[in-house]
């Protein structure tokens, strides 16, 4: 799987709280049985004035000049709450988002990020707002890269254009999954013997749990 070590890119603030996965990708935008073709539906209800014609809403941050190449989102608490749809992460990823910085995340969304190599970086809202304020007014197309943040996952550090550093939170195991691009299934299959042993003793202890093949 893809690895995440150090990333520099344009950051866009959407500082609402409780941005749910229905908002990240509405049901109607999940058109194919698969993980691809979802970027066009990202934030569709906010991004387009008219869903049919796909006329962009000029007020929405990702439609503003320079923000089409956004790769980092700054958001309010409880980002990705609601529906378990992994399509929210697949859509963000396909659009080019590599990291979301927010005070907290919906639990399922958070795990879906780790599973897809997208960084959920936890940072208190005051600091998320401070970063957004620093970026505000800078030209994302300017040569000074005024709207870019650098994220160093190894050091758990976000670096702003003025050089301010913010330390974010992530568990050691999640960070390692991202840094090494590990495949969780392969990792777990290394515990094959323990799984087998558990199963054997559990069949004795709780036989009713295990259903026959023909019901």
């Amino acid at each position: 799987m893809r690895t995440f070590n150090r990333h520099t890119g344009v950051a866009a603030p959407i500082l609402r709280s409780n941005i749910d996965t229905d908002s990240i990708i509405p049901s109607v935008e999940m058109k194919t049985v698969g993980k691809k073709g979802l970027a066009d539906g990202l934030f569709a209800a906010w991004r387009y004035i008219d869903r049919e014609s796909r006329k962009p809403n000029p007020d929405f941050i990702l439609n503003k000049p320079g923000f089409a190449r956004t790769s980092i989102l700054l958001a309010g608490p409880n980002f990705g709450c609601g529906s378990s749809r992994e399509h929210a992460v697949w859509a963000l990823d396909e659009f080019g988002i590599r990291a979301v910085i927010a005070p907290s995340f919906g639990a399922i969304f958070h795990n879906n990020c780790i599973a897809n190599g997208l960084l959920p970086a936890k940072l208190p809202f005051k600091q998320v707002s401070a970063i957004a304020s620093e970026l505000e007014g800078n030209d994302p197309n300017g040569e000074d890269t005024g709207h870019e943040l650098t994220i160093d996952l190894e050091k758990r550090c976000i670096i702003t254009p003025t050089g301010a550093r913010y330390r974010f939170d992530i568990t050691a195991s999640d960070a390692e999954m991202l840094i090494r691009g590990l495949d969780p299934i392969s990792l777990t299959l290394q515990h094959q013997a323990a799984i087998e042993a558990f199963h054997l003793q559990d069949c004795q202890a709780r036989p009713w749990v295990y259903l026959p093949h023909e019901h």
Binding site: S17, V33, V89, R206, W208, V209, Y210, H213
Partner: protein
């Protein structure tokens, strides 16, 4: 050492401690549906991997499938048929149990699994659907996962999970008459916010919980995810054990006795310590409804639309202003003056037989207001059959409700059916997010009986309130 119910269930399923608070947990049951199940099954097959315990895996058609009478594989959502056909083919190839569109056990995943005895007290059960927490009402550890995690569970029979913190929410005393489990959930989220559950495993306790039926406990736990909980739990008591008896996939004979003995040991020890504690005086809970597009925007049906100017937190004030704009409401408007266009009873929250009986009791001899489109979608095909055997469908139809086939239907827009942009819906569902029931649709969450009463009045109305608008 004293343990909580959650810790007992966790330890019972721990295969390995992976360190850093992460554990490898054994998964007893996996349930899939056509929205995300087909993708997971296909990816497993594409990687050349096998499903570890196919007899422990189930799949149903609920999210996208049509609920119109005489339905087939076609749906109003243009690509819906692809999801249905892909899932069917993948489930058959994988050799797992599928409750297909015309199967007598088909229905909404979280209604089907306890109904069939697939969900049992003490188990771990996962499903790529956030409302899997519903099943905690029966005393099992059940939670929603993503598609990639579902692939992991299918292939390894386990999941890697960070151990959540624990919270106890005590509903002390008895509920007032006319107050339901849905009102408890809305009240809880309204009082402590949509993030109040702090990603904890929550155990609901107290007299009001003990007095709830198992189906009502499922309703309460269903909305644990709207409270940002990892999941909800109610300790299995004799009611839960009796509920399980003789279900098709439940144990029988000597195994039943052994299982029941085990289930009776599943409760928090008296001196168990929780990371967080909340308490609610059940007497203060009223029939409730949401006024905005967040489940925390809750008010009693006798109340009024709140005023953002009175909110001191600036972020909260802004979200209230956006909410009023989306909902087309003015501050200070009495809730009972809000005119509705549609009424919907269904979803994994409130579509079980007890919900239908409660709504039908109110609707008997009454009529839906002539401007209201009213739809009832039973939670499962067995619920539909049982309701028809009692004649409930005749009560609903006589009152003016459409009587549908079972599925998720208009709880969400996945099947492509909606009440329409700008339409105001009183709904027995769980999510009032912007666009959840279709682009621009305005959702007010409430209990089935409040939906029934509102449908008849044409305005939001509690069942105990005067029927006609501004009576007297």
């Amino acid at each position: 050492m004293a343990q909580t119910l959650f810790e007992k269930l966790w330890n019972l399923h721990t295969v390995s401690d992976l360190g850093d608070g992460e554990f490898l947990l054994h998964i007893d049951r996996i349930f899939l549906h056509e929205r995300t199940g087909g993708i997971a099954l296909r990816n497993v097959a594409d990687r050349g991997l096998d499903i570890r315990y196919p007899s422990q895996v189930f799949c149903t058609m609920d999210h996208i499938v049509d609920t119109f009478p005489g339905r087939g594989d076609e749906t109003l959502m243009p690509s819906g048929r692809d999801f249905i056909e892909t899932t069917r083919a993948a489930a058959q190839a994988a050799g797992i149990q599928l409750f297909d569109i015309r199967h007598s056990r088909q229905g909404i995943v979280h209604v089907v699994s306890p109904e069939q005895g697939i969900a049992l007290p003490g188990l771990t059960l996962v499903c790529p659907d956030s409302h899997t927490c519903t099943l905690g009402g029966l005393g099992l550890l059940a939670w929603g996962i993503g598609s990639t995690e579902a692939e992991h569970a299918l292939v390894t029979g386990t999941l890697r999970v960070h151990k959540p913190k624990t919270m106890r929410v005590a509903f002390n005393g008895s509920l007032p008459a006319g107050v339901t489990a849905k009102d408890m959930a809305l009240h809880l989220i309204g009082k402590f916010s949509a993030s109040g559950g702090k990603r904890c495993a929550i155990e609901f306790t107290g007299q009001a919980i003990r007095e709830l039926s198992v189906e009502a406990r499922l309703t309460l736990c269903n909305m644990a995810v709207e409270f940002s909980a990892f999941t909800g739990l109610v300790a299995p008591d004799e009611k839960a054990i009796e509920y399980t008896r003789d279900r098709p996939f439940a144990p029988g004979g000597a195994e039943w006795d052994k299982a029941a003995r085990h289930w009776r040991s599943l409760h928090s020890d008296d001196d168990a310590v929780f990371d967080y504690e909340l308490a609610i005086d059940s007497a203060e809970i009223a029939p409730s409804v949401t006024w905005g597009p967040s489940p925390q925007q809750v008010v009693a049906v006798t109340g009024e639309v709140p005023d953002p100017e009175l909110e001191t937190d600036p972020a909260e004030r802004n979200s209230m202003i956006t909410a009023l704009d989306y909902m087309g409401l003015e501050p200070g408007t009495p809730i009972s003056d809000i005119r509705i266009d549609a009424a919907f009873i269904g979803s994994c929250t409130n579509s079980r037989l007890s919900d239908l009986r409660e709504a039908a009791r109110y609707l008997e001899g009454r009529k839906v207001a002539d401007w209201v489109k009213a739809v009832l979608v039973p939670g499962s095909t067995p619920v539909k059959r049982a309701a028809e055997a009692e004649g409930l469908h005749e009560i609903f139809q006589a009152a003016g409700f459409e009587w549908r086939e079972s599925g998720c239907s208009m709880c969400l827009y996945a099947g492509g059916e909606t009440f329409g942009p700008g339409k105001r819906v009183i709904s027995s569902t769980n999510r009032n997010f912007e666009g959840r029931q279709g682009p621009g649709t305005r959702t007010h969450l409430a209990s089935p009986v409040t939906v029934a009463a509102s449908a008849c009045a044409g305005y939001i109305r509690g069942a105990g309130m005067a029927h006609s608008r501004k009576a007297g």
